[in-house]
Amino acid sequence: MTIESFFAMGGYAFYVWTAYGICGVVLVINVLMPLRQRLSFLQELARKQQRQQL
């Protein structure tokens, strides 16, 4: 099998790769969003604590 025929997916390239692409994007967002939110929340808490100490 050549690389071209692999990506062509027997003529169904649009459907197959769009499905895999959307799946990938949704799954990546789902772990990165809570991670980023948690880190920024921790920073916010740290700032609050510093203000209280002053």
Partner: protein, 254 residues
Amino acid sequence: MKFIPDPIGKFFHRMASPPHFYALAGQMIPWLTGIFLVLLGYGLFAGLYLAPTDYQQGDSYRIIYIHVPSAWMSLFIYIVMALAGAIGLIWRIKLAEIMAISSASVGASFTFIALVTGSLWGKPMWGTWWVWDARLTSELILLFLYLGVMGLYNAIDDKRTASKAVAILALVGVVNIPIIHYSVEWWNTLHQGPTVTKMDKPSIHISMLIPLLTMAVAFKFYYVIAVLQRARLELLQRERTSAWVKKLVMEQSK
């Protein structure tokens, strides 16, 4: 009379303590991610490259390797969410409440993926993006149930009250799960019947079944990673004023 032996009771008590859970989840996520990536890598390679082309559907059938595992996860996560919600409702265990609400967004994502990939598979095979048949409609209702759980939780400020309300909604929605599962048998649907769960004689070849099951296991690992990630955030937000969070923040800002 004791139903649960001491060491096991202590184990669960320790596990359910927020600082311990927060730290343990943080340690487990890299390992789980490693296992997930290996399974995902093999599953994708086997599904997209090794598995043969289907004699009827050509290469379009390869959507099955994300569509079916996502659909399974959408049902599995809903049951976990309802069970965690029930445990939280009955025993008022904070961690169970957090697990329930953290499952909702992951479950909604898998339901969304199942619907979108199904649509992308339906267009070339059935000639339409969408039909209002029993399987598709009940899966769409599942998405609305997940979104309802998330919306209700965000609408109530007191998170303990919110968890109660969400648990009741999730439990009522459980009625939809058998409807989704049996929809292809109870009604005459455009959606095909089960191919894998006919355990006596699955109508799928082993070379296609192995990547499918690999992807299903990979998605299970993904769910655990995603739910732990979200649970850590949820836990911090709920416990922001507690001593252990203050200590954690102090140690990190040093």
